[in-house]
């Protein structure tokens, strides 16, 4: 296998963590919607925690993307 092909495959493998991030984000959204559905009065408190956890989880996907880009162009 030449280097160019190995780089492309490596960059694709580096994006596999997106599966886990997808599951995690699904859990966050489902828990948020559940909580708001049960207690609409607590939306303001829930919003802050939701956005914080959402951003922390979403950042993992971006880490994977950066590693993949580093493999491709670095």
């Amino acid at each position: 296998m030449d280097l160019e092909a190995a780089k492309l495959i490596g960059a694709a493998i580096a994006l596999l963590p997106l599966a886990g991030v997808g599951i995690g984000l699904g859990h966050i959204f489902s828990a948020y919607n559940n909580a708001v559905g049960r207690n609409p009065g607590a939306v303001e408190q829930l919003d802050k925690k939701f956005f914080l956890t959402f951003a922390l989880t979403e950042a993992l996907a971006i880490f994977a993307l950066v590693i993949s880009l580093v493999i491709l162009f670095g």
Binding site: L52, F54, A55, L56, I62, L65, V66
Partner: protein, 244 residues
Amino acid sequence: MADPIHQFVIQDLVPLNIGGIDVSFTNSALWMVIAATVTTVGLSFAMRQRALVPGRFQVFAENMYEFVANMVRENVGSQGRQYFPFIFTLFCVVLMGNMMGLIPYSFTYTSHLAVTAGLALFIFLWVTALGFYKHGLHFLNFFSPEGVPFFLKFLVIPLEMISYLARPLTLSMRLFANMMAGHLVLKVFAGFCVSLMSVTIVASILPMGFNVIMIAFECLIAFLQAYVFTILTCIYFHDALEMH
């Protein structure tokens, strides 16, 4: 297709060289100066009347203040008051950097690891020094949580230390990577738009529409990342001041 990386290139505007060290005034520095000026002048202008019933600009400035003040109150506690000026400045710096980067032809200084790592390392060193200053060597107890069985401590303490030492890395990488990836996606789809334009103009509407949605999403991310950066700083201050 146009180069999507070109937006991150640092250009010297005023070349300067003092004692063999390159201290040129770059486009990154220019946008930092603009951010500082806009924040200072904007907030002073908004608060110039100090009216009992605030006008439009004053409400904006007061909301911004209240937002960060609440964050500090809830996450750092009563001892955190003296760090409020620093945390508010930090929030303004990161928010202005992220938001002004969305203006076409501007430069996003938070999309450079040097800037975010500088901020994160400064926070990390300050917080660690603060912990040792407040608690002395008892601060080392931070790494061994209470109620852990003796034999598990051999596993828990190294893990805690690693996660503590990884803080500046994750803090800086999160902001830098989010900003860089977001702007890359915007520019790549703008490039698709131009390439498709030469084939059919109708087809180029698709990437254009996607870009419009992405701009809205990037505005959300720009604000969210500033919020996350600030709230994590608050949590680190809380750890140093009160140890868990």
